[in-house]
């Protein structure tokens, strides 16, 4: 009897295991499907090749941050349609994840060596960490076919040890966006050109019961969009770039001064107090709804701001100390990048495809006003919005770029820096605390 029971149990176990095996296959398929449709912050689109599959069909997968709410989404969609139509032999799949979540996702994938064939990344130290760990495919060979369209100077932020690892998409700088209707109410018909004028304008706005600036405190990078131009226009682009690259120290009296200006803005009520608990999307929406007079953020917002119901303008942040800084010194540069995973079984094909895709994304992003072109413009641009054109004008006169601090620094240093920036916005520390803290923790 015992033997019989044991045999029945053994048979049941074998059946169970077999059943588990079968289910496993099904489950993994269904999981893959549900990931693309259910995840709240993830939007997936699949652009199938327009022609029937051939024998040499190649599958490529891309991850990026162009979710439907992202200003670059239409450009990505159009570019992907165009490039996949030209490559029927490629089955292309792409998946977009919201900016902050994407940083976590891509780092985890790189750690597990499970990067998709093509992935969006930021230049500078962000991509540098992946390159150091041999996770990124070198694009030197593929680049040879595109040198005429993509100037080598645009590859500076994605070049490591003399080798190119990224395809730049658009170039963006920090811009001071203004609601001209609100400015007109306090007697300004154009964006203040000097720092004194800017302060005067803000004082008048506060006196009139209006909020000059909106800034998200929940996403600390947004605070850096205010602090970095202040630092640059006080200590100069050269010095700031050296500090970001750890070639110079944070222990600098002018940094204290610049932070002092920022805290003065907070004390005078220039910032929306609600901003500290809001995300960037909410703050941006508030600006687009006419709640703030200024919104200082990346120029990828040009398209959205130009479409707002009020009269808008964009300008460069004014100079504070003209002995050390000048107009034309900007925060930003070509940072948005596509890279190819070294682990991709079709890395060579992916590399060529990435260049073509990068060129197309740059093209459509420029036309949509969500960035300036890193690639040469050999097409008509009659519909580019006036704000993007104004930024192009500013960039034409640029004398120096300092890459966004959290992109220029390695991951650990960037988080320490962001931590101190967050403390400044929360008025936890003053200029002295900022400088001494960063000097102790970074150098």
């Amino acid at each position: 009897m015992k033997k019989f029971v044991a045999m029945v149990l053994a048979a049941a176990m074998v059946c169970g295991l077999c059943a588990c095996g079968e289910t496993k296959t099904e489950t993994s398929t269904s999981t893959a499907t549900s990931t693309s449709t259910v995840e709240a912050s993830t939007e997936t689109s699949t652009e199938p090749a327009p022609e029937p599959a051939t024998d040499e069909q190649i599958s490529l997968k891309m991850w990026c941050i162009a979710t439907e709410s992202d200003s670059n989404y239409p450009a990505y969609k159009q570019a992907i349609e165009e490039v996949t139509a030209a490559h029927p032999e490629i089955n292309f799949e792409w998946e977009a994840t919201e900016n902050e979540a994407y940083k976590t996702k891509i780092k985890a994938a790189a750690a597990a060596n499970e990067l998709p064939d093509i992935f969006f990344t930021w230049g500078g130290a962000f991509l540098g960490d992946f390159v150091k760990a041999d996770r990124v495919y070198c694009l030197d060979d593929a680049y040879k076919a595109f040198t005429a369209d993509l100037p080598e100077s645009m590859l500076d932020n994605t070049t490591y040890g003399g080798k190119h690892y990224g395809v730049p998409l658009t170039m963006n700088v920090v811009g001071l966006f203004a609601n001209m209707d609100m400015l007109a109410e306090v007697g300004y018909t154009e964006v203040p050109k000097t720092y004194d004028e800017l302060i005067d304008c803000c004082d008048k706005l506060v006196a009139a019961g209006k909020i000059p600036f909106g800034c998200s405190g929940k996403e600390t990078w947004c605070v850096t969009e205010y602090i970095e131009p202040l630092l640059e226009k006080t200590i100069g682009a050269g010095e700031l770039a050296k500090i970001f690259a750890k070639e110079s120290t944070w222990n600098n009296e002018d940094i204290k001064k610049a932070i002092g200006y920022f805290q003065e803005w907070i004390a005078k009520g220039y910032f929306d107090p609600s901003g500290i608990s809001l995300g960037n999307d909410e703050v941006k929406n508030n600006f687009l709804q006419g709640k703030y007079a200024f919104y200082q953020n990346g120029t990828w917002n040009c398209g959205d701001v130009a479409a707002a119901s009020f009269k808008s303008a964009v300008s460069e942040f004014p100079v504070i100390d003209s002995s050390k800084s000048a107009l034309g010194q900007l925060i930003g540069g070509p940072s948005d990048t596509l890279a190819v995973a070294a682990s991709s079984p079709n890395a060579e094909v992916a590399a060529n495809f990435t260049f073509e895709l990068g060129r197309a994304i740059c093209h459509y992003s420029y036309l949509a006003g969500s960035g300036l072109p890193s690639w040469k413009v050999d097409y008509e641009t009659p519909d580019v919005n006036p704000l993007t054109q104004a930024v192009a004008e500013i960039c034409n006169k640029a004398t120096g770029y300092v890459l966004f601090g959290d992109t220029a620094m390695d991951a650990d240093t960037a988080q320490i820096y962001l931590d101190y920036v967050s403390q400044i916005y929360g008025s936890e520390i003053d200029g002295d605390g900022f400088v001494s803290g960063l000097t102790d923790d970074i150098g």
């Binding site: 976590t104 780092k107 790189a110 750690a111 150091k132 405190g217 608990s277 809001l278 650990d412």
Partner: protein, 303 residues
């Protein structure tokens, strides 16, 4: 001869038992023990997610020391926040759940409906709950501020930064967490309350016991094992809480609402410090086990 046969049978039975246990054991070791062991190994190294384990980056227990001494990690504060959440869960959330379970378990009109309503927050995705509460807390148009204005508790026009003010952000972030799981614990306890024999109730009633006395001397002692499970879940759940904090405040403003898991993700992913991230993971495992054992001991002592 007989002894040999008996011995052989015993060995065979042993082998059979081992074979039957093997798949489960392999799964248990592969899914639970091995990752804990690997996390412990990583925690002894100063390494990034992209680095391999080497002798060069072996640093012994330095990460554990740094966890409590480094000013830039904020672990002690995060741990304190979690312990506070655990205390609130045990002393506010669970009594509330117990009260509801006792009320519903007694049998009342619309019992099923109430049960569903209280349990509903558990069924809703935490991300959605987070977004919902973000809207409630919004200083400009949030329901809470508007309600306080309407009730004249707050002067009209005065804004409160529920999630942006360091002094109240932690409490504001804890409210949705406590609210969400009241229904979960209530359901556990409700099942227990329903399991109490009606004969006991009736006998007590015949002896003239009031509802409160019945609950105190009959129902609650009967569902003690369930209360113990709820306490363990509440405490370990508080130590592991992450999703709602991530959505509501992401540990801010200025680390006011940081919990160990948000710090772990910050170290592990954003700062590329796999060694330190693993140290926090190991600490969490140890703390969860420690509290589970302590709670077991406390309940045993009471028994």
């Amino acid at each position: 001869m007989k002894g040999n046969i008996r011995m052989n049978k015993k060995v065979k039975n042993g082998i059979n038992i081992f074979l039957f246990l093997l798949p489960g054991l392999a799964l248990f070791i592969g899914v639970l023990i091995a990752p804990i062991f690997m996390s412990f190994r990583y925690s002894l190294h100063d390494m990034s997610l992209l680095d391999p384990l080497t002798k060069e980056n072996y640093i012994g227990f330095n990460n554990y020391v740094k966890l409590f001494t480094s000013g830039s990690i904020h672990f002690p504060k995060a741990l304190l926040n979690s312990l506070l959440l655990a205390a609130l869960s045990v002393f506010i959330q669970l009594p509330l759940s117990l009260g509801l379970a006792l009320l519903l378990g007694k049998g009342m009109k619309g019992e099923r409906g109430f049960l569903s309503v209280y349990f509903m927050p558990v069924l809703i995705s935490t991300i959605i709950i987070g977004q919902l509460w973000l809207k409630i807390y919004n200083p400009d148009y949030g329901l809470l501020t508007r309600a306080l204005w309407a009730l004249h508790i707050l002067p009209k026009g005065q804004l409160i930064q529920w999630l942006g003010d360091k002094k109240i952000a932690l409490a504001s972030a804890f409210v949705p967490i406590l609210w969400q799981y009241v229904g979960y614990h209530m359901l556990l306890m409700y099942a227990g309350v329903k399991g109490v024999s009606p004969d006991l109730r009736e006998a007590a009633m015949l002896d003239g016991a009031t509802d409160g006395q019945i609950n105190r001397y009959i129902v609650i002692p009967s569902i003690k094992p369930i209360i113990k499970v709820s306490v363990i879940f509440a405490v370990t759940g508080s130590l592991k809480s992450y999703d709602l904090i991530k959505v509501l405040t992401d540990g801010g403003p200025n680390h006011a609402t940081e919990v160990p898991t948000t710090i772990m993700i910050n170290q592990l992913i954003l700062r590329n410090k796999a060694g330190m991230g693993s140290t926090i993971a190991v600490m969490l495992i140890v703390l969860c086990f420690f509290f589970a054992l302590v709670i077991n001991k406390v309940f045993k002592k009471e028994d």
